[in-house]
């Protein structure tokens, strides 16, 4: 009957999830922090990250022998959705916790695992992603950063851009071309771990729409990477990166970047029209959350739900913008980054960050292309 491969079974939270959730809520209630919209990209607070590490809420899914906590991806789901919904500053550790840790676990050497994973779980090692380049955005396979053999290691030359948090990161995971381009454009790519800072790595801010600094340009001017810091196999970079992107898509951060606005609007004794809008957002978010949870459940079972993950991110990120529009309609305030009114501030943060929602982690057009291919029409 069903010709299209998109049926998702609901994800069920594990026993103990409610207890875990209430512990996170208690922590958030007693811990001082600056709440903001889009906090997983723009809210970096290393001290806050370390406190999460102390609680055992970083590297949750990593094995205990590498300093992790051996928890299920669905337990991690509970923790991160609580943090995101509160607008907590999770930006410093976000990439290391979400994708670099699992990627090092999957592809790394024993030495790499021992060096990076415990530090990630403590909130003491932050990673940046060196994928995008000035001429490589959606077409990631076109990266030009070169890796050249030098003795038992490699030297990297090239420029990475839109590198979130590189200025506070302890390392950057660089995708580079280690062999000349061939007919198979996915071949010849490799991943390298570059420890930061390094005198042959120049990191400069790329300021955002509000002139805020979280993106960077990272120039690699012949930085040396010892052979022991190649991640995975030389030439296997494309497969590794693609697998890594699966962690990037369809998590709760693709729905909740603007949830602060819902919270603040809710606190303003909404009138009938605002209540209706809140109700509509609630219905949509409840449904999208079920889909996100279902994808997390599938990932936890070891499936690779590429198509559902792509379509959840497409709908989820557009919902994040829908929240902004509803807030504009009902907040009765103008967006103002410097306002003492948290609603005006959150609205401003959302408006300036909104273009990024549907770009980062694969543009929505690319994602729909993935879905179309899954449907068999492409």
């Amino acid at each position: 009957m069903v010709a299209t491969p998109t049926v998702l079974e609901p994800g069920a939270l594990p026993p103990g999830a409610a207890e875990l959730r209430s512990r996170v809520r208690e922590f958030l209630a007693e811990t001082p922090f600056t709440a903001r919209c889009d906090s997983w990209l723009t809210g970096a607070d290393p001290a806050f990250s370390r406190r999460l590490g102390e609680r055992g809420w970083l590297g949750m899914t990593l094995p205990e022998r590498y300093g992790g906590h051996g928890r299920s991806p669905l337990e991690r789901f509970v923790v991160i959705e609580e943090l995101l919904a509160a607008g907590a500053p999770v930006g410093a550790h976000w990439i290391a916790d979400r994708q670099t840790g699992p990627s090092v676990l999957a592809n790394g050497t024993e030495e790499q695992k021992e060096r990076f994973l415990p530090a990630i779980a403590r909130g003491e090692c932050f990673f940046a992603i060196g994928m995008s380049e000035p001429d490589s955005g959606s077409d990631l396979a076109s990266v030009r950063t070169r890796a050249k053999r030098d003795g038992d290691g490699w030297r990297l030359h090239g420029t990475k851009v839109w590198t979130s948090g590189a200025h506070i990161a302890h390392a950057i995971l660089v995708l580079a071309r280690s062999a000349p381009r061939s007919d198979d454009r996915h071949a010849g790519l490799s991943q390298f771990i570059v420890a930061l800072p390094d005198e042959r790595v120049t990191i400069r801010p790329i300021r955002g729409l509000a002139s805020e600094h979280h993106f960077n340009e990272v120039v690699l001017d012949g930085v040396f990477v010892p052979g022991s810091m190649v991640l995975g196999r030389i030439g296997d970079g494309w497969r590794q990166v693609t697998a890594e992107l699966a962690y990037e898509r369809s998590g709760p951060e693709r729905l909740l970047s603007t949830f602060m606005l819902v919270r603040l609007l809710h606190g303003r004794a909404p009138d009938a029209a605002a209540r209706r809008a809140l109700g509509g957002l609630t219905a949509r978010l409840w449904s999208l959350r079920q889909a996100s949870l279902a994808v997390a459940g599938a990932l936890a079972r070891g499936d690779t739900p590429e198509l559902p993950a792509a379509l959840v991110k497409d709908l989820g990120t557009r919902f994040e913008r829908e929240v902004v529009e509803a807030a504009r309609a009902h907040a009765g305030v103008e967006p103002d980054l410097g306002s003492p009114d948290p609603l005006a501030r959150a609205l401003a943060e959302s408006v300036v960050q909104a273009p990024g929602f549907t770009l980062r982690g694969g543009t929505n057009e690319i994602l729909r292309g993935i879905v179309a291919r899954g449907l068999g029409v492409r």
Binding site: T4, P10, W286, D314, L375
Partner: protein, 317 residues
Amino acid sequence: MGLLEETANDILSGDDPWPALEESGLALVGVPEEAGGSGGDPADAAAVLRAAGYHAAAVPLAETLLAGGLLAGAGLRVPQGVLTAVSGEVEAVEDRGGWTLTGTFRRVPWARSARGLVVLGNGLAAIVDPAHARIREGANVAGEPRDDVVLPGVRAEAAAPCTADAAELRRRGALARAVQLTGAMRRALDLAVRYAGEREQFGRPVGRFQAVQQMLAELAGEATVADVAVRAAVRAPGDPVAVAAAKANASRAAGTVAAIAHQVHGALGVTEEHVLRRVTLRLWSWRDEYGNETAWADDLGAAIAGAPDPWAFITGP
């Protein structure tokens, strides 16, 4: 696909499936056996209902399952045959050990075909024979009966105290329609994907055009998210937030899905022979029945406004 779904699909893809649904017991799946049903859980009932939506079958299945469940819940025997449930302003008078019911009900699904009308009101569930009712026939845009019913003092065949009220009927009806919507949306997706692969213009299948691919991806997204949300609500049928959110979202998605499916099909999709019209006419009907996305947004909005923490409202305990 499970055996139940396979059987349901076999039956529901045929012409005139109702007799086979009754004979196989699928018309009362999810209704306890002790009450006269076929047994099974809400997920089983949803699987059959989803298949009915997928095949755009003109059968009073949701109505019979719903009314049967209400009778069973009140401890009453569930008869064979088409059932449908109503609630509203009901005057119930007890005399000679029975009940006489008076009331008027609008847009009752399949009333003209029903063997039993299950009436909720005044803390009672009662079953009456629609032969004693005045019925003014009406229909939704898909041509499914939606009749106005007047009970001019009709003696109930049976009645019993019942905790389910009008709000409960609306909730159960909304969940049933949401399940039907997801089945129909899945069909719209399958039809659109197949057509986009077959129909050639400018020397290639229209599905090769990025503009069409992007639309199909959006259709798939809406259908998939609505489906998983409704499946989650079926697992928690007593959770008012789950049901309200799932129906509101499915109703919203139905409009997008129907519009895209027709856009992909071009003018062909509107022709009388084409199955798409049976699907989309139902999407446009069911999305408004038992509360559309605006009605449920109002419900949810009122509830969340009164909740201390909007996030806890969404996650539940």
